[in-house]
């Protein structure tokens, strides 16, 4: 998985490419951790993301909880497989998917 971060004032955009799974989820977790201070809008771009497993969901949930306190989080360009994972797990109701 590759992680591309862009900070624009208090807006953080993170574009993911590849697979967000047990092996790669810790990379996203630390990438977010080091950049989320003072961020009011977090945008996750999933255009290049193939799929995610529950390890990925865990990181998304933690990010959502943080952003619930300090601003908002949106996820963009979600493919069918990932959308289905969100729906099956009830994450579709927790996350904001555009």
């Amino acid at each position: 998985m590759t992680i591309e971060k862009k900070v624009n004032g208090s807006e953080l955009s993170v574009a993911l490419t590849g697979r967000l799974d047990t092996t790669t989820a810790p990379e996203l977790e630390s990438a977010l951790k080091e950049s989320m201070e003072g961020i009011k809008v977090l945008i996750l771009d999933f255009a290049g993301l193939e799929y995610l497993s529950s390890a990925g969901l865990r990181v998304l949930l933690a990010a959502q909880k943080t952003m619930n306190k300090q601003g908002s989080m949106v996820i963009r360009n979600v493919n069918d497989t990932i959308q289905e994972v969100f729906e099956i797990t009830g994450f579709a109701d927790i996350l904001t998917v555009e």
Partner: protein, 137 residues
Amino acid sequence: MKELTINAVIENIEQVTSFVDEQLEALDCPMKAQMQIDIAIDELFSNIAYYAYHPGVGPATVRVEVTREPLAVVITFIDHGVQYDPLDKKDPDIALSAEEREIGGLGIYMVKKSMDDISYEYKNGQNILRIKKKIGE
């Protein structure tokens, strides 16, 4: 039938996934089914890696079989670690808010929902977990 026996460690998930994907591609498996299977491998093999031989390391065997009419793949995960039935667990409450949510049990729940069949047995000191996914029309 093909099988791979490998140390059950997180670092080997990628190799297991490639091993299975290679066979799915030879069967012209639809992309979506392949990704669902890859997710299932991540969930099931990581469970073995984390818990079966903790705190040590031991082997796991991943076997891929193909059945016809309807075309389906059956993937079996075998380890001889601690007896553990992942199906003997209540499904998570998926209606809770972000603050109340817990991640435990979500992985196996996703596998249950995306596969056509899942079964577990403990036999001769081995955990045997089997998933089946139809990949034809």
